[in-house]
Amino acid sequence: MIEIKGLHKTFGEQKVLDGVALQIDKGRTTVILGGSGVGKSVLLKHIIGLLRPDRGEIRIEGLDITRLEGKDLNEMRKKFGMLFQEAALFDSMTVGANVAFPLREHTKLKEKEIKEIVAQKLEQVGLEGLEEKMPAELSGGMKRRVGLARALSLDPEIVLVDEPTSGLDPVMAEAIEELIIETQRRLGETFVVITHDIHTAFHIGHKIAMLHDGRIVEEGSPKAFRRSSNPVVQAFLARGEEKEV
């Protein structure tokens, strides 16, 4: 379980997080929803310790990641897998080497075992046999699949996903959402997904939290979230539905 309390972050003059509080349940998918530029990615980067807050804490199974440093921080990070917005694959390496990267860095597995795991992870995301391709040869959707395979290669406890469907066509977006749902169900891991896409949020989330003006203004199950009387949530939902029509 991840517990975020009173998280504040300011960049220069700009206040991005202004007391974020949120509880992320173990083994469930929590979606953090919000418009562009409200600081969703900033929040996600705090959870894995890529950014330090000005104030506040993030407890992961009791340990405050915002206070960890060096080796302890790295040990904590090994519990995470992260899928970046544009996948952030290493473009100097093949697909296979990308997925194998965390295994080569952090385990003492033999090359043969690593190959087997890579093949298995790629198969799970529907890309079997693509080990030798370079990331530049892949479509946006395929890159994200490889990114997910890489995020899962160390069997992490928590998977962070940054805007999984932005910039994808609806069919591809749906396929990625299905992949996330299916993966979460199969592995029972904790997923934290950030998105500005309402459809994605309702499709994959067990819990939805809305980030607005640096705070979580509403949270709850998809059903409860839809019924929220919060005007910000209603405006966001109305705009999203307009777009779908």
Binding site: I48, L50, R77, F84, A88, F101
Partner: protein, 256 residues
């Protein structure tokens, strides 16, 4: 007038600030290079990229510099009948000055710029964040091998440039301009010390450190997408070249 002074002041302050940050990066790089595991695979990979792939350009630069030096000193020394000093002049200029400086400027253009572009692209496409997120320190993984490789490889390239330059000078002086070969070589032996060569190589190692550190720093601090990567790359070449020439003056004043 005040505005102009202000602008100059800001420029100098900016340059000093960059130097300070680079110095911090250097300390971090040294720190991370001392912790195991030592990544010889990455080191050799970078030595190939920075070193082996720069050989051709270094040979060409060294050869033509030696040849042009031979030609110029011949015209200058002929006026007072000291043509046999052409060899010494070429050899001293190459080993003390032109070898290390021109080699490191060429390597800056070829490899230092590539470091800035590659690491800069990794920064703007979140690959550096991905390294952090996968509990791999990017300074250890990306910067340590590049800096170490450059410190080792630029002196080796300088030896090649020195040699080729001296051969180029000999070719022009003895074969084309018909200077007496015996006197040409004897003078060279007499007046060029091993220290001239060693000091040149120490310079080369320092320049290797500068060009790789600047390239990595500029790449690592890139912001602003593809345009930012372009800017970082250009700036890395300019900053590294200027810093190398400044360091050259200081090292020369201290060593010779």
């Amino acid at each position: 007038m005040l505005k102009a002074i202000n602008a100059v002041g800001e420029g100098v302050a900016g340059y000093l600030r960059e130097m300070g940050r680079m110095f911090l990066l250097l300390l971090n790089t040294i720190r991370w290079s001392l912790y195991p595991p030592f990544r010889f695979d990455l080191l050799f990979q970078q030595m190939e990229r920075v070193g082996v792939k720069s050989i051709l350009v270094v040979v060409l630069t060294g050869a033509f510099t030696g040849m042009v030096m031979g030609l110029q000193t011949f015209y200058a020394t002929r006026k007072f009948g000291a043509e046999t000093m052409v060899g010494v002049t070429v050899a001293l200029a190459m080993t003390r000055e032109l070898g290390p400086v021109l080699t490191s400027i060429m390597v800056t253009g070829r490899a230092g710029s590539a470091m800035a572009a590659e690491i800069g692209t990794m920064r703007v496409t979140e690959q550096i964040d991905a390294l952090f997120a996968m509990a791999v320190n990017p300074i250890k993984y990306l910067i340590v091998p590049r800096v170490m490789a450059s410190i080792v490889v630029v002196p080796i390239l300088t030896i090649i440039a020195d040699f080729v330059g001296i051969v180029g000078g000999y070719f022009v002086g003895v074969i084309i301009l018909r200077i007496n070969a015996g006197a040409y070589v004897a003078n060279m032996e007499k007046y060029v010390d091993l220290d001239d060569i060693y000091n040149g190589l120490i310079k080369a190692a320092v320049f290797g450190l500068i060009l790789s550190l600047v390239g990595c720093y500029k790449g690592f601090t890139t912001t602003g997408g593809a345009e930012g990567v372009g800017k970082a790359t250009t700036q890395s070449v300019v900053l590294a070249a200027v810093t190398i020439l400044m360091a050259d003056y200081i090292l020369t004043a201290v060593m010779f």
